[in-house]
């Protein structure tokens, strides 16, 4: 019961159109496995039957379920550690020196999945910024389901085991039933919004730091380039961009240069205005 070539083509075209994620040949098995629970939920007897129905009567809810099922939402707290260490030991001290006038830091977690990344950022900023400073964090993702989960700010036992230092767990979360809920003081500093990074981006005030991690890998090079370009417009001239460990701007978008940040690298806009004369944004 493997997927027919036509069904696979239909799904990969749909997913590509809606999210720019490329499902190349060889992903048939993945598509089938991920769609089994979706098909079951709708009462269809098989993935083939579910796909036949949706091709006959296109329905946006079913379509967005397909897209949701085929995006990988894998994430964890302080993922890979090094970017967060670089943030607190190098990036924030520099920003603190440069933003003395308004004492406010804006961070964007683009493709935030279920929220571990933006809340990790919030914890890092809360622990690092001196008294009198404020910050705000925007978390966005293409998946409505992920945004809903992130907004709820509740994580299972298994999720809090993954990369969250226990001291940070007891300081920033409270136990409710089987879950751990982000404390209100932290929750308030993060806002969430559904956003497709490959569609035209809304007008947003620029950010000091952007985490765009583990999402470019799903796009082809043209899409990567256009995402990097449009996000560059939302990064402050002296801001910082962090990508996933397997991602780079090199060979994709020359407007960025790679710089050492602690034990990892980050990316900065080449035409960066010298430190201290950055515009007000």
């Amino acid at each position: 019961m493997t997927l027919s070539a036509a069904d696979f083509a239909f799904v990969s075209a749909l997913v590509r159109r809606e999210s720019s994620i490329v499902l190349g040949p060889g992903k048939e098995y993945l598509v089938e496995a991920r769609l089994i629970p979706v098909a079951r939920q709708t009462g269809a007897a098989s993935v083939a039957e579910f796909l036949a129905a949706i091709q006959r009567h296109p329905d946006p809810v079913g379509q967005s379920r397909i897209v949701d099922a085929l995006t990988t939402n894998e994430t964890s707290w302080f993922r890979d550690q090094d970017p967060f260490t670089a943030l607190t030991t190098q990036v924030l001290p520099e920003l603190i020196a440069n933003r003395a006038a308004n004492r406010h830091i804006r961070v964007w977690s683009a493709a935030c999945s279920s929220g571990q990344e933006p809340y990790s950022l919030a914890i890092a900023l809360r622990e690092t910024l001196p008294a009198g400073w404020t910050y705000e964090i925007l978390g966005t993702d293409i998946s409505g389901e992920m945004i809903e989960r992130a907004e709820r700010g509740e994580f299972s036992q298994v999720e809090v085991n993954r990369g969250l230092p226990v001291q940070k767990l007891v300081h920033n979360f409270e136990r409710v039933g089987a879950h751990w809920r982000v404390m209100p003081a932290l929750r308030r500093t993060v806002t969430f919004q559904r956003m497709n990074l490959t569609a035209p981006l809304p007008a947003l005030p620029p950010f000091d730091v952007i985490f765009l991690r583990n999402v470019l890998i799903y796009f082809d090079v043209e899409t990567k380039r256009s995402v990097l370009r449009s996000m560059g417009r939302l990064l402050r001239p002296d801001g910082w961009l962090f990508l996933g460990a397997a991602e780079t701007t090199i060979g994709v978008d020359d407007n960025y240069e790679r710089v050492v940040a602690g034990r990892t690298s980050a990316y900065r806009l080449r035409a960066a205005v010298p430190v201290g004369t950055a515009g007000k944004g």
Binding site: S76, F78, D80, Q81, D82, Q157, V158, V160, N161, R162, G163, P165, V166, Q167, L169, V170, E174, R175, A245
Partner: protein, 128 residues
Amino acid sequence: MHAIVIDDSRAMRLILRRILGQLGFDVVEAEDGQAALNVLEGMEQKPDLALVDWNMPNMNGLEFVTAARDNPQLREMTLVMVTTESEQSQIVRALAAGAHEYVIKPFTSGAMVEKLALLGLVPSGASL
């Protein structure tokens, strides 16, 4: 690197031994806190890491952690509780007694590796 796994369940010791073994640790086992203290007493080179269950017969994990903290010879050993005890108040108690990290059961092997990476005992980004 050396580790001691302290749990009254043989299955759980085996799971932990498997994970640590794949990360290159030499592992010894003990089935409760008292047995662990006895094993440690006789060891020339003390382990770098102890994974400690909470609820065990004879001497429980909290008592073991307290005893290990009070023993100058075991001061360098990193103590990680691995337990179903997961109320905030219990976690705070274990930390106050001297535990460095805390893994709540059930845990995936990936989560265990990530916790050890947080402690600097395996390289960050390590996986099985």
